[in-house]
């Protein structure tokens, strides 16, 4: 998954894309939308259009900055030197190795991965590397080994998953690289994969497991979520 594609199936809804462009999403969701956009030609165009539209409607506040403050700010700024060269964006390695396979990541996720991922191996061939990006979401890289499945679960909030490599499916469909998969509390699902799958997932509240012994873990799960 490297090239920009015209053939991505699942996209963030327009409203979410607009919040992304306006800077109103949590860091976790912003990262996920950004990763999707890097690989989706349609969303690149849509977000560029939204940026145009939002900036054209950019209204001033009723409260003005006081004249006195205004001048001191202005003097301070004009005393600063200007950039002559474009800021260089840090080069980070794009590839990470998961289960002996090298996977190329979107830039923003490569940056996160470069800070170091601590993989935890869960049951059933599922591994996760939690990443703390903000106080509102629980973000993680999730790797599912070929032939594995997660416990069936619902969410008490929204879950967004972007597929980075391989594919997975659940009761509602099959998802390929760059797909932006959204699940809300009404969905009970059990993701599984045949070929193996690397995802990045953002949850705005803990998972609630709905099957078997996992059910017992729910209160603990919530506790873990709140006191990470």
């Amino acid at each position: 998954m490297i090239a920009v594609s015209n053939k991505v199936n699942l996209h963030p809804p327009q409203e979410q894309l607009q919040k992304f462009v306006a800077g109103e999403l949590s860091i976790g969701l912003s990262v996920t939308v950004s990763a999707h956009i890097e690989y989706c030609a349609a969303c690149q165009q849509a977000s560029a259009k939204l940026e145009q539209a939002l900036s054209a409607d950019w209204d001033a506040a009723a409260t003005a900055i006081a004249e006195s403050e205004f001048n001191s700010i202005l003097d301070h700024i004009a005393a600063q030197p200007q950039s002559v060269a474009a800021a260089t964006v840090d080069a980070v390695p794009r590839a990470i190795v998961v289960n002996n396979k090298s996977v190329s990541l979107p830039r923003v996720l490569a940056k996160i991965a470069a800070a170091g991922l601590a993989w935890q191996h869960l049951r059933g061939g599922i591994s996760q590397a939690l990443v703390k990006l903000d106080d509102h979401t629980r973000c993680a890289f999730i790797y599912m080994k070929p032939g594995s499945k997660t416990p069936a679960h619902t969410h008490s909030g929204n879950e967004v998953t972007i597929v980075l490599d391989g594919s997975f499916c659940d009761e509602l469909g099959e998802y390929q690289a760059a797909d932006f998969v959204m699940r809300d509390p009404s969905h009970r699902h059990q993701p599984r994969t045949v070929e193996g799958c690397l995802c990045f997932s953002v949850l705005d509240s803990p998972l609630l497991f709905t099957a078997g012994l996992q059910r017992l873990l729910n209160p603990l799960n919530r506790l873990l979520f709140l006191h990470r």
């Binding site: 940026e51 001033a60 990006l133």
Partner: protein, 220 residues
Amino acid sequence: MNNLYLQVDRFSMGFMVHPEPQHAPNPKSAVLALRESASNEELLIAVGNQQSRIAFNTLFNRFSNRIFAMGMKLTRNEQLAKDLVQEALLMVWQKAPLYDLDRGNAQSWIFALTRNRCFDLLRKIKRQPACVSADDIWPNDGYYGDTVESVDSGFMSVELEQVRAYYAQLPTAQLAVIEQIYVHDRTHEEAAAELNIPLGTLKSRLRLGMGKLRTLVEAE
């Protein structure tokens, strides 16, 4: 005339090093900025090319309250919103030389820059991990700049008459840029101001023109 040679850099086709004269005050920019009708693009280019404080002042007037509004919306904190006005406009001042018309209109450029600054400001306040910055999340908002072409030290000699024949085959706009840089020995910034075009446009015309020249020379 025939024995007059120019040394031409094979790759950049640069006619060797030219001195960078000191910036002379350019009265044109003042006139431009004083005109209240000047577009945001013209003002931003004047800030970028000539460090025009008057043009910046006008931009400041037009945008400080908008930036404050975005700051209030995103941070819900008056002090942070004021900090954002200062920090975002400082960015506008500092990054203005990187703006060109290829990046879209000036208002959306300033909008994106303000949003990014606000994101980083909030991240700092909340002590959130530094591994992701606004530039990682929104990479297309004017931070790429021009890619610098590598310059090789191979030289070739070209007869002046021949160069003139090549020049005749260039589009007027590219020729005007090349003339400013290589005949009048102006810096990129001065040439952009003289031709009243954005620095980025100047650089791309220069690149295109020199590329064409190189093709013509190599075709000989």
